[in-house]
């Protein structure tokens, strides 16, 4: 697969189907792949990489690239395709300028987990079916691939690429997952415990804005937190309130639009489980207003721009009780 993706990128560029390709390129380390736009075959030959570390969701880059002259190819893993379609639904991407190559995905790898398994001085990671062969300065190690997946991949909600022009590999299906288990665990705690948990997590926030910059839903032309007119302009979090404020508002702004791609947690340098905030909204929406998956289709109204006359009252929050 890794080779097929790169060949496809070359092919599309060479046969003139597209003028540029959005893909991944090597960063400082082999596991540190970053999104990149390739305009020539040479660039692709040199830098294009698709591997178990190509976790980055490329959909957000289509906003700008779809407005560039000519046509752009983009590679979308299943979860990325939801983000892409959500952006399309919000009229952010000009579909006619994009050529989508869907990629079947077996889950992306988390370097932190490989390190946590006791591998130091990692030089390369090779995939061999269900196994990972980790080459380190101190000899090779073999790990189970399953144990080294990113959190979001371990609880993957869907292997289905919802929008594509061409598909590499087998199309998959939506699947039942345990992705809400952690949210439910937190819900079962006492308010005091929850407060302590989130204080512990959010107090580590350094307001680097990585979560915001990577999030496909956070693609506003100008964020409220950068906007003087909003009255809440706020560059750095100076106190616990502002740490809370930023993350609550961010989660609220993407509620009903967040596809649960998990990029926010993947990029957080402080390892704050930010996806739990988004998942809490998704879980509430599913439970209170019926199951809704952002980006799954182009038609369904987002739950926050919709209503029924017999919706539950906000007091349901009190009635549901603290410990379930």
């Amino acid at each position: 697969m890794q080779q097929r993706v790169k060949e496809k990128a070359l092919e599309l560029l060479r046969n003139g189907t597209v003028d540029r390709v959005i893909g991944w390129k090597t960063g400082e380390f082999f596991y540190d792949l970053t999104p990149a736009v390739f305009e020539t075959a040479e660039e692709i030959e040199k830098d294009f990489v698709f591997s178990g570390f190509s976790g980055a969701n490329l959909s957000k880059y289509a906003i700008a690239q779809s407005r560039a002259a000519g046509k752009t190819a983009i590679f979308l893993k299943p979860c990325d395709s939801y983000s892409f379609q959500q952006l399309l639904k919000e009229h952010r991407i000009l579909r006619e300028n994009i050529y989508i190559v869907g990629i079947a995905c077996e889950g992306m790898l988390d370097m932190e987990k490989i390190r946590a398994a006791g591998c130091e001085g990692v030089v390369s990671v090779k995939e061999n079916g269900e196994e990972l062969i980790v080459e380190t300065l101190y000899g090779d190690r073999t790990l189970s691939r399953k144990d080294c997946l990113l959190e979001r991949c371990a609880v993957c909600k869907s292997k289905k690429v919802v929008i594509f022009d061409e598909m590499l590999g087998e199309q998959g299906d939506e699947q039942e997952t345990a992705r809400f288990d952690r949210v439910a665990e937190l819900e079962a705690m006492t308010p005091e415990e929850r407060f302590a948990f989130w204080r512990g997590e959010l107090s580590r926030c350094i307001r680097c804005n990585a979560c915001r910059n990577v999030c496909p839903a956070c693609s506003c032309e100008k964020c409220v937190f950068d906007n003087d007119k909003s009255g809440v302009r706020n560059k750095a979090a100076a106190d616990p309130f502002e740490e809370n404020l930023f993350h609550i508002i961010r989660a609220f702004h993407v509620a009903g639009r967040c596809t649960d791609c998990g990029e926010c947690s993947r990029v957080c340098p402080q390892n704050i489980p930010l996806h739990l905030l988004n998942r809490k909204f998704i879980k509430d929406i599913n439970e209170l207003y019926g199951t809704y998956q952002a980006g799954a289709d182009m038609e369904t109204k987002s739950p926050l721009t919709d209503f029924t006359t017999d919706d539950c009252e906000p007091s349901i929050v009190h009635e549901r009780g603290g410990v379930k």
């Binding site: 407005r67 919000e90 009229h91 952010r92 839903a217 693609s219 506003c220 032309e221 100008k222 964020c223 409220v224 906007n227 007119k229 909003s230 009255g231 809440v232 702004h253 993407v254 639009r257 109204k301 987002s302 926050l304 721009t305 919709d306």
Partner: protein
């Protein structure tokens, strides 16, 4: 920095008794930006208003805070006061220290402290206020009346009388509506046709009125003063301009077995027809469901006999676009279907009829030529049972929970007419209550009982069983505490009335609101009864609720007066507190559009300067200030905060929050 004047009102002792007004004005004088602060006995009085105006000039005020009664009371007053002194009305904020302070607190210290906080919040807001000017939108001087019954006709005539063009859209081939089917009218017993048909002719002959008969409203765009309506003229296969209404075709058409809808199916008509002799326009219409020429291409008799050459089998539906300043809904009512009321044997015996069918049976132009005969065997009925409240006041899901209002009176009318024309008939009326509020109404009902000897029985009919050519009626007589068994020849059911089935889809097109019974809701149940909450949409007749003819005509004229009031204006002043998107921040994501109840938000592609002298095209929200009512739903739906509400901006509200929590 604003130069703010603070004016604390005593409201006699209403405020001054529990708020130390002197202290409030002193403390607020210390607030940043406040250059003048005072208190006075009655700010809203002539002297108080003059004081505000003088201070505006003297201290060169750019903002005014008035600590007084609720803004719902005097905000408009003080805005006008300031406008007269040259200050924009939206630079005034009211701190509500009466209803929300002095009147609910007893302790003077507490009241004073709270009044200060409320004053601070108002000052904080004024700092961020900007002068707002209400926009103007032009008014198209033409009205549309949807529905050509007596309500629609009356509204159209009144509007036309004032000199404005009016179009009537009527879905039937003729205007006139339900009233054309009615025989006599209560309480005067004059003939309905005699008073209605002259009005129909007036409407047809009025140069200002244009009638689109056999037409429906296809779509409605725009807003008050500027509606853009597409009207669908259904194909009637007869050229209206050529047809003389001679009626020859309707006599020669070989297809004779078409249920006559005008007589409610009590007799038959031809496939080409003119609903009744006084139809307006008096033009034939081909019923495409029955015409053999249209169905199989064989026949063409009407075309052959028509000397005017008006028949056109190839006619197509036609779409007409027209602009209007106001729209009047006059879609009227229908009797409900009685298929769920098995106990009255309506579907088992032709001698059980609805009241509207009874009207046709009594009418000289009806299927029996005005002689009351049983539909089953054409004999004269000797015992007639009337049942009231069939489907009205019904909570069981089969009928309507409301009172249909007109049934008591028309049943009294029917009973009276029966006894008058045929004194040998026994007439029973079963009632739950007899409701006769209205001029000369109760007298009318008493006459039916006292002079005409109609048997009014307090009770209800339990069941009707057709047996041996009779209708066995089992009923209760509650006052006599007995059960009655009557062998009747006819049973007449006073069916509940409901809004026409076209009303609901029309309401959606108009974005006008309806109640759960599909009656249009009025802007205010008491004070604005002929207007819809949607600006520019007016209500006439039974589409708003059950009504008799005098009430319908009264409301029709009232709606016309409102329309005339609107069309007289050259332009409309818009609500200045509207939403406004910041183009630099708008993502064009359509979140705001989805929550806007008025359809005030549209999108357009706009060019922006990108980096390196490139041009970027971005999708951008645009708010039509003439349509926006300023609810603010969009401001919260907007993820980037690009949408803000003038007069209640994010910053203004947060400034108030800050001042209160300080």
């Amino acid at each position: 920095m604003q130069r703010i004047g603070v004016f604390v009102c005593w409201c006699g002792s209403n405020i001054a008794a529990t708020v130390d007004v002197e202290k409030v004005s002193q403390v607020l004088a210390q607030e940043p930006g406040v250059v003048f602060s005072t208190n006075y006995q009655y700010m809203c009085s002539q002297a108080g208003q003059e004081m505000i105006q003088e201070s505006i000039h003297k201290y060169n005020l750019t903002g005014v805070v008035i600590c007084s009664c609720s803004p719902r009371m005097h905000e408009a007053t003080f805005r006008k006061t300031c406008e007269k002194a040259g200050l924009n009305g939206h630079m005034v904020e009211i701190a509500n220290i009466r209803e929300q302070c002095s009147w609910i607190h007893k302790d003077k210290d507490v009241g004073t402290e709270k009044a200060v906080v409320l004053g601070r919040a108002a000052i904080a807001k004024v700092h961020l206020n900007a002068p707002l000017t209400a926009g103007q939108s032009p008014v198209k001087k033409r009205a549309l009346v949807i529905g050509g019954g007596i309500a629609g006709i009356q509204t159209a005539l009144d509007i036309a009388d004032a000199g404005f063009d009016v179009d009537i859209v009527e879905k039937q081939p003729t205007i006139g509506g339900k009233m054309t089917q009615i025989d006599k009218t209560f309480p005067t017993l004059d003939c309905a046709a005699c008073i209605l048909t002259p009005k129909m002719v007036d409407a047809a002959q009025n140069e200002k009125i244009h009638i689109y008969s056999y037409a429906e409203v296809e779509s409605v765009k725009g807003f008050v003063g500027n509606f853009n309506v597409t009207i669908k003229k259904k194909a009637r296969y007869v050229d209206e301009t050529k047809c003389t209404g001679c009626g020859l075709c309707t006599e020669k058409c070989p297809q004779k077995k078409v249920p006559n809808a005008f007589n409610l199916g009590l007799d038959n008509r031809r496939a080409i027809y003119i609903p009744f002799a006084q139809a307006v326009p008096k033009v034939a219409t081909i019923d495409a469901d029955y015409c053999t020429m249209l169905k199989s291409g064989k026949c063409g008799v009407c075309s052959k006999v028509c000397t005017a050459g008006a028949i056109d089998y190839k006619q197509k539906d036609e779409l007409i676009e027209q602009e209007y300043g106001a729209i009047v809904v006059a879609t009227g009512f229908n009797p409900i279907k009685l298929d769920k009321y098995d106990e009255f044997a309506y579907s088992q015996s032709p001698d059980v009829v609805t009241s509207l069918e009874f009207e046709r049976l009594m009418n000289a132009a009806g299927p029996t030529g005005g002689t009351l005969l049983r539909p089953s065997d054409g004999t004269h009925p000797h015992t007639i049972v009337f049942v009231q409240c069939v489907g009205s006041r019904c909570d069981d899901g089969r009928g309507k929970s409301y009172c249909s209002k007109i049934c008591c009176m028309y049943t009294a009318k029917h009973a009276m007419l029966c006894r008058e024309k045929y004194p040998d008939t026994d007439v029973y009326v079963f009632y739950i209550d007899v409701r006769t509020p209205g001029k000369n109404f109760d007298e009318f009902y008493r006459r039916a009982v006292e002079e005409y000897g109609v048997h009014y029985v307090k009770g209800m009919v339990g069941k009707v069983v057709p047996q041996d050519g009779k209708l066995k009626v089992q009923a209760s007589d509650l006052l006599g505490d007995r059960q009655l068994h009557i062998d009747a020849d006819m049973v007449v059911l006073a069916a509940a009335i409901e809004p026409d089935e076209t009303a609901r889809p029309l309401a959606t097109k108009l974005t006008a609101s309806m109640d759960t019974n599909d009656f249009f809701t009025e802007a205010h149940p008491k004070l604005r009864p002929v207007e819809s909450p949607t600006a520019g949409i007016f209500l006439s007749g039974a589409c708003q609720g059950p009504k008799d003819i005098p009430e319908t005509v009264a409301q029709a004229s009232a709606a016309a007066a409102k329309v005339i009031g609107l069309l007289c204006k050259d332009s409309l002043t818009c609500n200045p507190c509207t939403a406004q998107p910041d183009e630099l921040m708008c993502n064009g994501c359509s979140s705001c559009e989805k929550v806007c109840p008025y359809g005030a938000i549209t999108y357009a592609d706009k060019e922006f300067r990108g980096p390196n002298r490139t041009t970027l095209i971005r999708r951008m929200a645009q708010v039509n200030p003439a349509v926006c009512q300023g609810c603010g739903a969009c401001t919260v739906a907007c993820p980037s905060g690009a949408m803000d509400l003038k007069g209640f901006s994010n910053k203004q509200i947060m400034a108030e929050v800050d001042a209160i929590c300080r």
